[in-house]
Symmetry: C2
Subunit: 414 residues, 2 copies
């Protein structure tokens, strides 16, 4: 029997009515002859509400206890869905990350999956159950403490379980219809793509397209898990994320805006070997993900080092930076959270020179100043002023004619 | 170091402010040089709210999934308390029933504790932690499924853990100041007892004194766990529940009202051996606790069999009774939920004849009709009309002079 892993985000299970709708969809897929593992996030804003209660008690809640608290959110969502599926005469059983053998390291709040031990899940499937599985959580190897995998990590739970049980497909249900050439709220002519490669999706996700968590795309690519991103509100096909063979003629797949980052600049850092390493090692030890890193050329033996990081991590980052400034002998550091990051992604840009120049020209024509630039083989990102972000997206989307179907691979699969 | 188990009910942890107050109390007890295990219920009405959501999805929610859902309530309360204690610079770690080795049978919603494996809790104490423990829940032996122990069972969790780790005392914190001669809301001259024996407490609890769950009193008696019932809102000593040696001169300890039961009567049951057994076996299989059982003398080979049961179990009970009526060949059954149970409890009544007569006389003087009577060596219970219940309590409290301290043992211990 084919195995399908389905993942439903917080909005998709945000109310009792939504949970009933998801149960209908699950039962239909089961009756169509599939084995099903259904991964759920916490209902609606539950996680934020629990975090707020914790913050009311302590400004920096104990990390172990906070994980214990937050995992209650998925527990509520998954058992309610379990009840709803059973009520439809379809056997279902829900499992926590711990019960499902999602083994992680010990980094509370940002744990990494180190192993999946799916014995109990496979037994439940063999026993004729629809498995409902809590996203976002696991159990630390060795210590057996409850951990969480970081914001948006229910996608990762779904992909990792799909890989472990060799599911045929991992369906990511969300409140949008798929992956678009840009955010449809910013550009009304944004177009849903039929398919996108892992590499492009990874760049789009890292660039702020919130539809998929970057770590989950990386995991899917490494383990060859085919993803299908689609809406939980209708039955339309969404966007497949998979190895896309024929990229000929396709230059650009999408443009993304990330307005949730801040720019940190370490000023007048002594320009000697090992300085950057010690800066970013200190930050990594706090499990803060940083994004663009730009180092300018050196003047008089000192340079400026800038990077972007999630705005929500800035308070934690500041205590690291206070230490780092002294350790490396920099003058000072500054934080600018009035920025936006605009990224253009496309596998074809590897073989089409001039894309970057086109993009910079487009921004210049809009009078948008570029503060930082960083590139990968298939992505160009520019940091601009926050107020310029949305205008930049619309202009680039138009310049690269992303509303036209030919711009992206239009294969329908599955 | 002495070990104290403290248990806080839902009202005591009903808000962030209350959790902060409990944390203050816990830290003070820790700083006074005790090892501490703190058992918590779900905050306020959380359990009822979760049950209501489940009921909205399915009239009879799947029992396994419902247990998974309800256990989220204690998880939230315990981790918030863990955060609050840690924030005061006092090491604390919270544990679910499953993590704490509270092994139960497989009866979801009403599981019985079959074994405590406190290894992890003892290690946490040895490691210098205050242990915060989820009440009301466990893990089924053999199946390793999450179970709940039934309403009010956080008391049982506390007592069972206290027995397993040989705690010096189990303190039950609640929103009343201790155990009273009757409900102070019904009789303003009700008096807080300094101590009461396990036997009397058991009868009072079974008779409707909601301050302690009956199963937990039974467990405490069997394992010799000393209980101290006291208020979480002040520092006054409460009521000790323990072996009380000198009962000389003490006749009556309290009178209790239970308005949460209904009376079920099986009419014209054939009077032959085995009938009662098959009736109550069928009910027990549904894990419904019944209370008073009265069988009248037989006329023409048939008799009436009456018993009381919690009103909330009546819907489940009715489906059993529909079957039982046919199986035993009774005429029909009827349910009367317009009743109240009035109970008089006192270890001294064993050696003081005439107590029952006094009680019946007192009720007669009030014009209260008695519908059923049942007695134990230290208790007399009468079922009366619902409207007569409170008046009956006040009259009996006055008749037996329960407001006078001499009526109950006045030893202060601990």
């Amino acid at each position: 029997m084919p195995i399908i892993v389905q993942k439903y985000g917080g909005t998709s299970v945000g109310s009792v009515e939504r949970i009933q709708a998801v149960a209908d969809r699950v039962v239909a897929a089961r009756e169509a002859g599939n084995d099903l593992v259904v991964v759920v996030s916490a209902m609606g804003r539950t996680t934020d509400e629990l975090k707020a209660m914790a913050a009311e008690i302590a400004p920096v809640p104990d990390a172990r206890e906070l994980d214990m608290l937050l995992t209650a959110g998925e527990r509520i969502a998954m058992s309610l869905l379990g009840i709803a599926i059973n009520a439809r005469g379809c056997k279902a059983a829900s499992y926590t990350g711990s019960q499902a053998g999602i083994m992680t390291d010990t980094q509370h709040g940002q744990a990494r999956i180190v192993e999946i031990r799916p014995k109990r899940i496979l037994e439940a499937l063999t026993g004729g159950n629809v498995v409902v599985l809590a996203g976002f959580q696991g159990l630390s190897l060795g210590q057996y403490e409850i951990t969480t995998l970081g914001r948006g990590a229910s996608d990762l739970t779904a992909v990792a379980m799909a890989a472990a049980i060799e599911a045929d497909v991992c369906e990511i249900y969300t409140d949008v219809a798929g992956v678009y050439t840009t955010d449809p709220r910013l550009a009304p002519d944004a177009r849903k793509m039929a398919a996108v490669s892992y590499d492009e999706m990874l760049e789009l996700a890292a660039a702020g397209a919130n539809v998929l968590q970057p770590r989950s795309v990386e995991y899917a690519r490494r383990h060859g898990v085919r993803l299908h991103v689609r809406s939980s509100f209708d039955d339309e096909p969404g966007t497949w994320v998979q190895e896309v063979d024929d990229m000929e003629g396709v230059m650009i797949s999408g443009v993304a805006l990330d307005a949730d980052e801040a720019k940190v600049t370490l000023e007048r850092v002594p320009d000697r070997p090992g300085v950057a390493a010690s800066v970013f090692k200190a930050i990594a030890e706090e499990a803060i993900s940083i994004d663009m890193i730009v180092q300018n050329v050196s003047h008089e033996g000192a340079t400026d080092l800038s990077f972007t990081a999630p705005r929500e991590d800035i308070p934690r980052l500041q205590s690291v930076m206070d230490r780092v400034v002294k350790e490396v002998g920099a003058d000072r550091y500054s934080v600018d959270d009035d920025i936006a990051k605009v990224s253009l992604v496309g596998a074809g840009m590897k073989t089409h020179p001039g894309v970057a120049a086109d993009m910079f020209d487009c921004l210049a024509a809009q009078g948008v100043n570029i503060e930082m630039i960083s590139t990968s083989p298939i992505r160009i990102s520019c940091v601009v002023g926050k107020d310029d972000g949305e205008r930049a997206i619309r202009a680039i989307h138009e310049r690269f004619q992303l509303d036209e179907a030919g711009a992206a691979p239009d294969i329908v699969t599955g």
